[in-house]
């Protein structure tokens, strides 16, 4: 663990209780390595360590009998502060029906998350409407229709011949007429560098003015997390992130990378394949996981 590695670096104390600046620097190197091993982006790690260096060089570490523990505490506190820094509630206020759009790379878990989110919101008293807007992937519409059927939640009858922005528009209109108050739109996986498909998302946004545009990101994403998040945020102004597949053993450093480049909060996490496997994001849990 980071704590053990820091203790090795700092144990050359020789009883005087005062650390040298060089030892602190070496400690910062251990912090850098630990974060890189957790898949936090290289540049984000640099900024993060620069951000905690002042505190690390301060009295609380220098005068401590357990400087290793102190540094771990500083890193942990800073991670929690960054990851928990903004509103994590799903925002459904404003124009009704409320609209949530799920976006992200191929295979990140959008369709499954749409089902989970619908079930979760219904438990909170909302009346969800699932909308399949992926007209490209074979059987994508069938996939969401199957989940909707399993949950007994109404689903818009999309066809692959329709255009996604038009699906979105018609679905919101239908929700209004059927007294359903929360529209959840599942979109096709896409690369952030595919300008045509990014334009399609902008067209969907324009058509239905969603309250939430959630980037669905895989917890095992590596260094590329910053590129993905930065592009989706720049093109769409995402409102939050859903981090999926946290039931695996990925350290989840992507959470810090994404938060760092977008400033947007992780609102929910996926913790399994079943439709009840979703829960609110807990900054301290992911902080512990990143620290290993």
């Amino acid at each position: 663990t980071l704590g053990n590695r820091l203790n090795k670096v700092f144990k050359k104390l020789k009883g005087y209780g005062k650390l040298s600046e060089e030892q602190i620097q070496e400690g910062m190197r251990e912090v850098r390595l630990a974060l890189l091993e957790a898949d936090v982006n290289y540049k984000v790690v640099k900024d993060f360590v620069a951000g905690i260096k002042k505190r690390a060089l301060g009295q609380e570490v220098m005068d401590s009998l357990t400087p290793g523990q102190q540094v771990v505490k500083i890193v942990h506190d800073e991670l929690v502060a960054l990851l928990g820094s903004s509103n994590q509630q799903i925002d459904l206020a404003g124009r009704q029906p409320a609209v949530i759009v799920l976006v992200g790379l191929q295979g990140s878990g959008k369709t499954t998350t749409a089902g989970k989110l619908a079930r979760w919101l219904r438990k909170k008293g909302r009346k969800p409407f699932l909308v399949p807007a992926d007209v490209y992937r074979p059987a994508a519409i069938e996939q969401l229709k199957t989940l909707a059927k399993q949950l007994d939640i109404p689903v818009f009858p999309s066809e692959t011949s329709m255009q996604p922005p038009e699906i979105a528009r018609q679905a919101v209109a239908q929700a209004g007429m059927s007294n359903l108050d929360t529209v959840i739109i599942d979109t096709a996986g896409r690369l952030h560098i595919d300008s045509e498909l990014m334009d399609e998302l902008r067209a969907i946004k324009e058509a239905v003015s969603p309250q939430e545009i959630l980037l669905v990101a895989d917890a095992m994403t590596g260094q590329d997390a910053v590129n993905i998040a930065e592009a989706f945020d720049r093109e769409l102004s995402i409102t939050g992130v859903v981090l999926t597949k946290l039931d695996g053993d990925a350290r989840g450093g992507a959470a810090l990378s994404i938060q760092s480049v977008t400033g947007k909060p992780v609102k929910l996490v996926g913790i399994g394949e079943k439709l009840d496997a979703i829960e609110p994001f807990h900054p301290d849990r992911i902080a512990n996981r990143i620290l290993g």
Binding site: E37, D39, Q106, E142, Q143, L191, T221, G222
Partner: protein, 282 residues
């Protein structure tokens, strides 16, 4: 990366940063750069060009498995049907990769059959059936929720009776940390072996190029459970470099057969270590 006349510590740092950002993994990069720094100390490398060539050659070595028989040769040498089992964690591109491989083999004149043995995920069978229609390739399937081993068993039987050259078996995505699902995979392999003793002739692990260091853990645990014999690395058409493949190949000694570069049936390329390494530096 900038033009420099000589090899200074900044250049090494810069290259180290680039390799970490390519997802090569902190341990691998440290190890690699310790070797490079001692090469530089012993004056083996005269200039940045030489340094770059040295890094590329080390990386090519990591990505190459010596005495490895190509998939084509293996298929040619076996008596049909040649059975390929495809495994990997959720969402990496197994089903799409199977469609691409089936298309490739068909173009090579082979008779291919696909087994829809993901009986768990919503519309997984539909997805493969739609691919089968597009490819004009038969798909063996049972009802959703049925036993995946039974589907694999039936598919091998169909492969034999219909004189197919290749049978490709799709499985449900599963996290390598889920013991019961890894046990299910072992059972699928056992049942396949009962139907045809050499089956599966090949077990391909699909890895996603956007995955960070977790790919190593995936490779280890899938290797433990199912004796993986080949890798396909998908989604290299994005901005991720897939550098973790170097650590995976180096540690597990499993060759990368193909890379996925898109969502169409033609978006599959044979793996070329030199091209891959050059791309890491772009």
């Amino acid at each position: 990366l900038t033009f420099r006349k000589e090899i200074d510590p900044d250049l090494l740092d810069e290259l180290e940063e680039a390799m970490v950002m390519a997802d090569m993994g902190v341990g691998t990069v440290q190890h690699l750069f310790d070797r490079l720094r001692s090469d530089v100390k012993r004056n083996e490398l005269k200039d940045p060009q030489a340094l770059r060539q040295r890094i590329k050659s080390y990386l090519k070595d990591m990505l190459t498995v010596t005495d490895t028989v190509s998939l084509e040769e293996k298929i040619g040498a076996a008596s049909p049907p040649f059975v390929i089992l495809v495994v990997g964690v959720n969402g990496v591109g197994k089903t799409t990769t199977i469609a691409k491989m089936a298309h490739l083999f068909k173009e090579q004149g082979k008779k291919v059959l696909i087994a829809a043995a993901d009986t768990f995920r919503a519309a997984a069978i539909d997805q493969l059936q739609q691919w089968g229609k597009r490819l004009d390739i038969p798909v063996i399937s049972h009802q959703p929720g049925s036993d995946p081993s039974a589907v694999a068993f039936d598919a091998i039987e169909a492969g034999r009776s219909r004189k197919m050259d290749i049978v490709i078996v799709d499985t449900a995505g599963r996290l390598h940390t889920q013991k019961n699902l890894m046990e299910e995979l072992k059972k699928i392999r056992r049942v396949m072996g009962r139907k045809l003793s050499e089956a599966p002739h090949e077990t391909i692990l699909v890895l996603d190029a956007t995955t960070g260091q977790n790919a190593v853990s995936q490779a280890r645990l899938f290797m433990e459970a199912t004796d993986v014999t080949g890798i396909v690395l998908t989604k290299l058409d994005g901005t991720a470099k897939g550098g973790i493949a170097a650590a995976v190949v180096h540690e597990m000694k499993i060759p990368i057969y193909f890379i996925g570069i898109g969502e169409k049936m033609t978006d599959l390329r044979s793996f070329n270590a030199e091209e891959f390494v050059n791309a890491l530096f772009e």
